[in-house]
């Protein structure tokens, strides 16, 4: 008995140690960024200094000198609008893939996934050329549309599993009770699929907020999003680390807070309905 208890205690210690390490490694770069953002310029080059009197001069600078707020607003507009459109269109597609057996169903599903596999560096060329011909470079609408290219397939991929989990009988019952198809969708299907939609929404927002390749190439100033801002801090004398870190801290905060709030749904959504119990 006693040996077993000791063994169990050891196991626990090991578990907590491992978990602590996982946490530390996960947050270390973020933590470091926050520390650097509060340091004065000289201190950045002394990694050993962890206790110091924090300064907010970097934060003041990035809002004053670099218009961080306009980048943030652009990112927010693009991420939210993109997320809404992806959710509506993607869910509808996913629903029909889940419910209707039609010829070429798997092929359609494959092609949808295929859009996601298009490397951004590859689709970049035609999109850039088309956009410059249409004179829509550096607009919000352009980035929103481009992000739909990979967010809609992603939505379909997640939501299909969720819709398949909803028993068809529930919908049939609603139809018999006199709901039309639209009402059934709105009052039965959507509430049941809500956790999946929440999970999808988070990832759509994260994807759109963090996307770098297209944002860098397709925008110059008017609709530049947060990820492109890292480009600004390369100066002749090297990178301005303090300000860079301050930007990073502010820029990643909204998404991280958002993700923390909806943590539970996020984890649930990630099973993709791919494990059948």
């Amino acid at each position: 008995m006693r040996q077993k208890a000791i063994k169990k205690g050891l196991g626990r210690t090991f578990l907590y140690l491992a978990l602590f390490l996982i946490c530390l490694i996960s947050i270390f770069p973020y933590l470091w960024m926050v520390i650097v953002s509060l340091k004065e310029k000289v201190l950045v080059y002394q990694p050993g200094v962890i206790f110091f009197s924090p300064t907010f001069v970097n934060y003041v600078n990035v809002f004053k000198l670099h218009d961080l707020d306009s980048y943030m607003i652009n990112s927010a507009i693009i991420a939210i609008l993109n997320c809404l459109v992806s959710l509506v269109l993607g869910s509808m597609t996913a629903y029909s893939l889940a419910r209707h057996k039609f010829r070429g169903r798997e092929t359609t599903a494959f092609f949808l996934t295929f859009i996601k596999i298009l490397p951004s560096v590859a689709s970049m060329i035609p999109i850039f050329v088309i956009a410059s011909l249409l004179k829509v470079l550096d607009t919000h609408a352009l980035l929103i549309t481009v992000y739909l290219l990979f967010n809609i397939p992603f939505t379909v991929l997640i939501m299909r599993g969720f819709f398949e989990e909803i028993p068809v009988e529930l919908e049939e019952a609603a139809l018999i009770d006199g709901c039309n198809h639209f009402q059934t969708m709105l009052k039965v299907v959507v509430p049941l699929a809500a956790p999946g939609m929440a999970a999808t929404a988070i990832f759509c927002v994260i994807n759109a907020w963090n996307e770098f390749t297209f944002a860098m190439l397709l925008t110059t100033y008017e609709s530049s999003t947060v990820p492109t801002i890292v480009q600004i801090f390369k100066t002749v004398s090297g990178i301005v680390w303090g300000e860079m870190a301050a930007v990073g801290t502010v820029a990643t905060l909204p998404v991280i807070v958002f993700a923390m709030i909806v943590q539970k749904h996020m984890v649930r959504g990630l099973s993709f309905g791919a494990v059948k119990g």
């Binding site: 946490c23 973020y30 080059y45 490397p119 990643t252 990630l270």
Partner: protein, 274 residues
């Protein structure tokens, strides 16, 4: 919807057959046929094969590391313990942190003179590594990428573990199976579908990775980390503006990615039917 996807590919393919460069007036665009492709595959000096090799290595090692570490972490998370929400909260940070920003921070961490990693190494183990030189840059990009994306894999597999049915485990316990047997004969087969999906998503993303190496190393030093995505970007939008040739490379990249995903997607569709 399908149009959205076919148009860009056709367009890339068309451009890849011409001498179009950014800014070329349309009436001077000439049809070259397969010239770009022939040059890509015959000119061994161009670095094209080097990039393909790098991308494949990067994908294979990256995906393997992410899956193995991700699975290990997911199994740990699956134990009952207090403060689980906190641990998951920590894991969410790499998922939500903007890759271009985190790559900049990794650049600072990897710095030879004032980077935190070398500082820690020097004070605990007594040596330092020049992370950004030609021998280590590939490893550095790999570490940053694995750090960024492993938590996604972890949470995905963890979500899968949570939704497994209990009865097979009870049966295994009665039969006297040990932990390893339970894992290999029960957990893995039941998770197969999800693991393949995970493989699919991660392989695609690793093959087309761009932002992390672009910010961290710009493909350098030399061409030590010139992954295919970076090479295409440099050829098409860098100093040279050879859009035609870049398109030809893009077509090759599309073909590689499609082959990988087709295989994995088949495996998944098969599993769905079973």
């Amino acid at each position: 919807m399908s149009l959205l996807f076919i148009v860009p590919i056709l367009f890339v393919f068309l451009i890849s057959l011409t001498n179009y460069n950014l800014g070329t007036p349309l009436d001077q665009v000439k049809f070259l046929g397969l010239d770009h492709y022939i040059r890509l595959f015959t000119d061994t000096q161009s670095g094209f094969f080097h990039s393909i090799y790098l991308s494949l290595m990067f994908t294979i090692f990256g995906v393997l590391l992410q899956l193995v570490i991700g699975m290990a972490c997911a199994l740990l998370l699956n134990f009952e313990f207090r403060l689980k929400a906190l641990v998951i909260g920590c894991l969410i940070i790499p998922i939500a942190m903007t890759p271009s920003v985190s790559s900049q921070i990794w650049k600072l961490l990897f710095n030879k003179e004032f980077g935190a990693i070398n500082y820690l190494l020097e004070h605990t183990l007594g040596f330092t590594v020049s992370w950004m030189d030609a021998d280590h840059a590939f490893l550095s990009v790999l570490i940053a990428t694995v750090w960024q994306y492993t938590p996604f894999v972890t949470l995905m597999l963890y979500a899968g573990l949570r939704s497994l049915p209990e009865s097979p485990y009870e049966a295994a316990k009665i039969e006297g199976a040990n932990r390893f047997q339970t894992f290999f004969y029960i957990t893995l087969p039941m998770m197969r579908q999800l693991i393949v999906l995970c493989l699919l998503l991660r392989t695609i993303d690793m093959l087309k990775v761009f932002d992390i190496p672009y910010v961290l190393t710009q493909g350098g030093p030399g061409n030590a980390t010139q992954l295919l995505g970076l090479l295409i970007y440099d050829t098409g939008f860098g100093e040279a503006n050879f859009v035609g040739r870049a398109s030809a490379m893009a077509v090759v990249l599309i073909i590689i990615v499609s082959l990988f995903s087709l295989v994995l997607f088949r495996t998944m569709a098969k599993g769905r039917e079973d």
